[in-house]
Amino acid sequence: MSNVLAGLYYTKDHEWVRVEGDKAYIGITDYAQHSLGSIVYVELPSVGDEIDMDDNLGVVESVKAASDIVMPVSGEVVKINEDLEDNPELINEAPYDNHLIAVTLKDAGELEDLLGKEDYEAFLAEEE
């Protein structure tokens, strides 16, 4: 059973979003890190990049898979998690403590299209 935290938004692509003021932190869920296996590399965008919802923000690579990460919301990248460059396995160890990027939200209304904890758990139950 994978871990799903309260207080976060989720997507069907197994990303989580934590909103802090006008910033959104984006990462991948416990289910995602478990499916990928040992993560070996993370490709992230650059600070300043403007990326729309549903567009590619980066790639998370494991030994046996490469997962394209898609923006759950639109925004401008203000922070990338540089720890992941040398220690990508941090995502396996603590997927909710290690965001990929932080963005300033372009349109807070987009958050309404995301899933809450219960909806995501129900979605996971269907997948399994």
């Binding site: 030994v63 046996k64 898979a65 394209d68």
Partner: protein, 446 residues
Amino acid sequence: MHPYLPNTPEDDKNMLDVIGLQSTEDLFQSIPENLRVKGDLNLPKSKSEIEVRRMVSALAAKNESVDEMVCFLGAGSYDHYIPSIIKTLVSRSEFYTAYTPYQPEISQGTLQSVFEYQSMMCALTGMEVSNVSMYDAPTAAAEGVILASVQTKRRKILVSETVSPETKSVLETYLMYREVDLEFVKEKDGVTDVEDLKSKLCKDTAGVLLQYPNFYGVIENVKEMEALIHENKSLLLMSVDPIALPILKSPGELQADIVVGEGQALGQNLNYGGPVLGFMAATKKLMRKMPGRIVGETLDREGKRAFVLTLQAREQHIRRFKATSNICSDQTLNSITAAIYMATLGKQGMKEVATQSFKKAHYTFMELTKSGKFKPLWQKPFFKEFAILCPESVDTINEKLRAQGILGGFNLRKINDSLGDAMLIAVTENRSLEEIDRFVKIMEEI
């Protein structure tokens, strides 16, 4: 009963019994009758080895190999010395009947040999990463050019006209339907026209491909062009002859970003053009986007050093549509061949092969142009190949040479009419001075 098919009628019956069918015909019931082949394929019947050998003899007799002629022909395929141990080692069935090393525990032979190949290619080219192999120089160049475009997010690729015709042709085909625009930089006096390069470099130029030595054997002034290319934030791609690198400035020393080339000269036979060995080496920065397989060193669960295919997440079997390339089968056995060649020639030998090829080519050049009958096409530094202007058609001269047991050089008029009756001559360490002197004498008399 064919020697490769062990099943006896008894075996057939036993297996069919287990399966629950009456005859082998029943195995194909799912195939619609109207699609089935009627009768037999219109091919000859099976043959024994005795018959095959007889047929092969007749076919072989219609070929004249370079062992029966003295070879001064190059143009991308070279008659270099191949040490005898290469054939013995590469003919070991553990190497050639093995599969791709996806199960590393039982493939350390292949994996370590290729790791050693990668290491030596990095040392030779002065680059940080090498992949296992590509099909040949032209396709390696095509993949390199695509990589440059993806990396820089720019659309234009500049290719010097002094790059080999085969490479230029393959590039045109590979890029035909892709979002990459190919433009050629003019040749001037046997080298890339730097003024033309300057005028064509723009902010959409992803990279520039040069050949080193170029198709005409000339060693270009890469340093001058490198400065311009990098100032423009484009990548420098070089297609190189690995045999030259022990004595010429390495692509790494010249600040190349992507190095490709033809490894046929590293111990592969001529093989009528294939299989050969494309290679690609690059800077660490480009590593994750490089096509092809890459072997890495790691530890096993007991802490022992071991080798394994790595960075597989770039490849087709994982990335599928988003893979950096579609390459799957490559030229692994040829890279193992190259590794054995490089280990055999070693530090001193690689240098000696390059030096002897260089000197013998320059000796041939001096002797041939002494009398004035043959003029150098250009006065430019060269490595092991050079072009001379002939008083009559190169094809005619080559026919006369063949009658004397000599395989003459490449007819440059075939690829560029404006060069006139020019012959591209290659001389390797495999040529003796007697052979060269005889060649020169006959050329003077023709």
